[in-house]
């Protein structure tokens, strides 16, 4: 093992225990680790955003790095000067907006930063409106438009049943359920759940009843997703324990 790796393990172990000590209570050890974590991660993103966003998209994309011989591919400026359209030339506008953003640093003209902010919020609103409508609304509608009974599955049951009976087994409960009740549950659950979200009518009478069924569906969803993730969360911690006991202390392999 190289020395830097050995030291590395000790440092890593130090920070691992430091963060975990928070579980007992807030303490100076945790405070130190937290402070380092905030600093190191902020710096990590600071460097990454430059090398992964600013440099390739702005400087390489426009051709600024090419101009200075720091990059060997031409960018939008060279393309446009050569009479060829390159959509990346619009990044000049982003450069302007980015600089407007930095005007924040000068309090008297800080309001200029509202412009780039508005551009981002506005374009986000426009894009999300269309994409979410299609991906969440329409595609869910498509998946809800299903027959009440899945005849293919119901017909298939007989075959599955004889195959399993030959091995002395029963048809699994979930397959039965899926064939006869699966679609109905999906339809009822989706529609009543939607009624729960209905804001502009008081939830009473039939509507109230449906909304109540909807809440139960939501609760089952929450409970089930919670239960489902417990296992994987445990495996994360097991990974850390192996680091401490194995990689660092060498107590287990």
């Amino acid at each position: 093992m190289e020395l830097s790796g050995e030291i590395g393990f000790w440092i890593a172990a130090f920070f691992t225990i430091g963060i975990a000590s928070f579980l007992y209570k807030d303490n100076p050890f945790y405070k130190f680790c937290e402070a380092v974590f905030v600093g190191i991660s902020a710096g990590y993103w600071f460097v990454s955003l430059y090398f992964q966003n600013m440099l390739p998209k702005l400087f390489d994309g426009l051709g600024i790095t090419y101009m200075f011989g720091l990059w060997d591919e031409k960018g939008a400026i060279q393309d446009v000067l050569a009479g060829q359209w390159n959509i990346n030339i619009l990044h000049i506008l982003a450069l302007v907006l980015g600089i407007m953003m930095l005007m924040r640093l000068i309090p008297s003209i800080g309001w200029i930063s509202r412009w780039p902010l508005s551009v981002i919020v506005g374009s986000t609103a426009g894009l999300w409106m269309v994409t979410y409508f299609q991906s969440n609304f329409l595609s869910q509608l498509r998946q809800t438009v299903i027959p009440l009974f899945d005849m293919n599955k119901i017909h298939g049951l007989a075959e599955v049943g004889t195959n399993l009976a030959a091995q002395g087994k029963l048809i699994p409960f979930d397959i039965y359920f899926g064939a006869y009740l699966g679609n109905i549950v999906l339809i009822v659950g989706t529609l009543t759940g939607l009624i729960y979200f209905y804001f502009s009518k008081e939830h009473k009478g039939a509507l109230g009843g449906a909304a109540k069924v909807g809440i139960y569906f939501l609760m089952i969803t929450f409970g089930a997703s919670f239960g489902y993730t417990v296992m994987s969360r445990m495996s994360l911690l097991i990974g850390r324990l192996y680091f401490l006991f194995g990689d660092w202390l060498g107590l287990v392999r």
């Binding site: 600093g39 190191i40 600071f46 426009g126 979930d174 999906l186 659950g189 445990m234 680091f243």
Partner: protein, 192 residues
């Protein structure tokens, strides 16, 4: 649409790469203030400043520029032995919090909470050898065990609820976007 979306997403990336200067400077400003005014815990603010500067200087000047993320660079060393264990440990704390949250939250206080509890309980039991053991104690035949009930909950009841939530989200987003585009909702810019 796609090109436009790409362009806007690039713009966002570029603007945010500028904006992180504001955030980073703010973090430094607050930390330096803490130290200079000798506020409570000022010592830890030094740790923040030092670690920030350390990784930034190493990342920009001592890690091969564009190849800063490659294996074996100094940046990678900081990433591997400081950032990554911190991050992984924070993530691993979830194992504890999942346990304490389920102890406290999953109580049969009322009908809704009971349903929540039962769904979580069945799914949890159904996904461990413990569930198979319980099933065999109850003489449940193969195919009619707790794990099969878990499948029903996960594949039908859970999916139905998820769908209702997703449809609602789509409607909420369309409505909020529209309010913003029309300028009715201006609170995001501070205006009323």
């Amino acid at each position: 649409m796609g090109d436009l979306a790409d362009t806007f997403s690039d713009w966002y990336s570029i603007i945010s790469a500028f904006a992180i200067w504001l955030g980073a400077l703010n973090l430094m400003k607050i930390s330096i203030e803490k130290v200079s005014k000798k506020q409570k815990d000022w010592f830890f603010a030094i740790a923040t400043i030092v670690s920030f500067l350390l990784i930034v200087i190493v990342g920009f000047f001592f890690s091969g520029g564009r190849q800063f993320l490659d294996l074996g660079t100094r940046f990678d060393w900081l990433y591997r032995y400081i950032y990554s264990p911190l991050s992984a440990t924070m993530f691993a704390l979830l194992a504890f919090f999942v346990a304490s949250a389920s102890y406290r939250a999953f109580r049969a206080r009322n009908a809704q909470a009971t349903v929540l509890l039962l769904a979580a309980f069945i799914v949890m039991v159904g996904r461990t050898p413990f569930g198979d053991w319980m099933s065999s104690m109850l003489f449940l035949p193969e195919g009619w065990r707790i794990s099969n009930l878990t499948n029903v909950i996960m594949n039908y009841l859970n999916v139905a609820g998820q769908r209702a939530i997703m449809i609602g989200i789509a409607l909420g987003i369309v409505s909020t976007s529209l309010r913003i585009i029309l300028g009715i909702e201006r609170s995001y810019l501070g205006g009323e």
